[in-house]
């Protein structure tokens, strides 16, 4: 599992580390870590609906912040639990641009084992960094 929850840097919130060989994989892992806080049986999620998203930011760190917040937004606005299926990050005019296809379905409490709501991504200990093996992120979610 390319992410791990941590109990040592937050009590009321949920913290995780994610790591991956590429930045794109890191974003996908961080998305799974975030959504699994809300839905325990994430592998059972059906790709019934797809959405295209495009996000622009000045750097990779704020791009991941926006990307995770986008997933949290759809959970409230449209009751959708979504995960990225395809995802690319390319340098843009003034920073970085993410394009992703998100797939998933509406919350169905008869099939989804629901956990705890994620309210937001916090800036506490928040970090996205290049490491010798690839990329690493530390994220604390407000729940």
């Amino acid at each position: 599992m390319p992410f791990q929850y941590r109990g040592d840097i937050a009590h009321a919130d949920i913290a995780f580390d994610a790591w991956a060989p590429t930045l794109e994989e890191l974003f996908k892992d961080a998305a799974r870590a975030t959504m699994q806080v809300m839905v325990e049986n994430l592998p059972d999620l059906r790709p019934a609906q797809t959405l295209e998203v495009k996000l622009e930011q000045e750097n990779d760190e704020m791009l991941l912040f926006d990307f995770l917040n986008e997933l949290i937004f759809y959970k409230d606005a449209r009751r959708l639990i979504l995960l990225p299926t395809e995802l690319s990050i390319l340098p843009g005019d003034s920073g970085v641009t993410l394009r992703a296809t998100l797939a998933g379905e509406e919350i169905d409490v008869t099939r989804h084992q629901m956990n705890t709501d994620v309210k937001a991504v916090t800036m506490l200990r928040y970090k996205v960094e290049k490491v010798p093996q690839g990329w690493r992120a530390t994220v604390v979610l407000d729940v």
Binding site: Y5, H11, K75, V109, Q113, D117, T122, M123
Partner: protein
Amino acid sequence: MNVPAALKRITDTIWELPVSYKEGMLVPARIIASEKLIKEMDAGVFEQVSNVATLPGIQRYAYCMPDGHWGYGFPIGGVAAMDPGSGVISPGGIGFDINCGMRLVLTNLTAEQVQPKLHQLVDRLFARIPTGVGCHGFVKLKQDDFRSVVQQGSQWCLKNGFATRDDLEMTEEGGCFPGADASHVSEKAVERGYNQLGTLGSGNHYCEIQVVQPQNIMDQELADAFGLTVVPNQVVIMFHCGSRGFGHQVATDYLKLFLSVMQRKYGIKIVDRELACAPFHSPEGQAYFSAMKCAVNMAFANRQVILHRVREVFSELFHASPDELGMRMVYDVAHNTAKLEKHRCNGSQKELLVHRKGSTRAFGPGLPGLPECYRNTGQPVIIGGSMETGSYLLAGMSTGADAWFTTAHGSGRTMSRHEAKKTFRGDKLQREMEQRGIYVRTDSFGGLAEEAGPAYKNIDEVVEATELAGLSKRVARLVPIGNIKG
């Protein structure tokens, strides 16, 4: 034990980190706690409350209440008053769940009358009040109507048949922060929240049926004044929820905005990005203050329409009107806010911007802003404990002036959610609680496990510390018998 060597004991319940503790501290940091609670505080409290003491414009002390624990930016339980002229406003001092708060409602029913219908009552509340991740509410609105809700708060509820005048009177600020302008709120925040009016949410949000047992009344006179002695073993309803996705989005939007302007435009350097802030009187600071008020009003309206539903359910099951069942509000208190209030500071009366994050305003007797009926008692303060252990009703004290008339908000976590989920099983906990006389309904056993009693501090010790520190006086302990949880 995480207590720093520099921590000084001021009294038995007041502890202080001096300005020399950390570079950049402008005022000392004070923690309210008994000796036992201070020894159990997590390291994050000392780190974060001393970070708060570095914020521009902070007055006298940065505070943390006895239920304090590791938060983001401010610790949970954090309090800071800023000089509005020279100081900042920080979303990290308010939290993402803006105006998360507590409401306490009376009935004239006894536990003996409610027990035979308890399962039916809890089941029906669970069916009628949406709970859990991403839940949509029972009040269907267009986005423009939702903008009216966030500008008007409980007043919108009054106009639309969800409230009585007394309800508004018994809500902090009358259920509406004036100056809430929806033009300062993003489309995204509206889109995220307009479907959520009338939802509890999840995590530590709940609606609980409780009993006031005669042996748990600690101050008879105040208990009489707050309506807790109408019948012996009186049943009351307490619930806890906030501004839902709307408030979370407002906080996220402005956290990002403040990060982008704070240093570049205003030259403010901070020790933790979660303390992102802007001068209170800057365009960004004023826009956030107005957007935050919209989220405050959304939370007041949310609790108000939920109260309407609770009244409907009780009426249906007990075949009497809410009035006949004595379903009056004791009070509604806000946890996560910033407000302009007048306080005595350095010898004179000053207007200050008081940030409270996971802490409760606790006005003492005689303070302006309290309903007439509470002028002599002080403000009712509703403290939710863990779902297993019980809650408290307290009253604000006149000795609370130093801490800007503020007290604790709950019992405070001692165990991370991650650890609690590894330690407890939700389904087993639900069965054990039922054997102990507490019937719980939830959509999430994982979420239930995270809220297990041992994951929290001892509520009795927390409220005792607030009383010994002169912040809030114990009126009664409230024992749970039924609970719906997100």
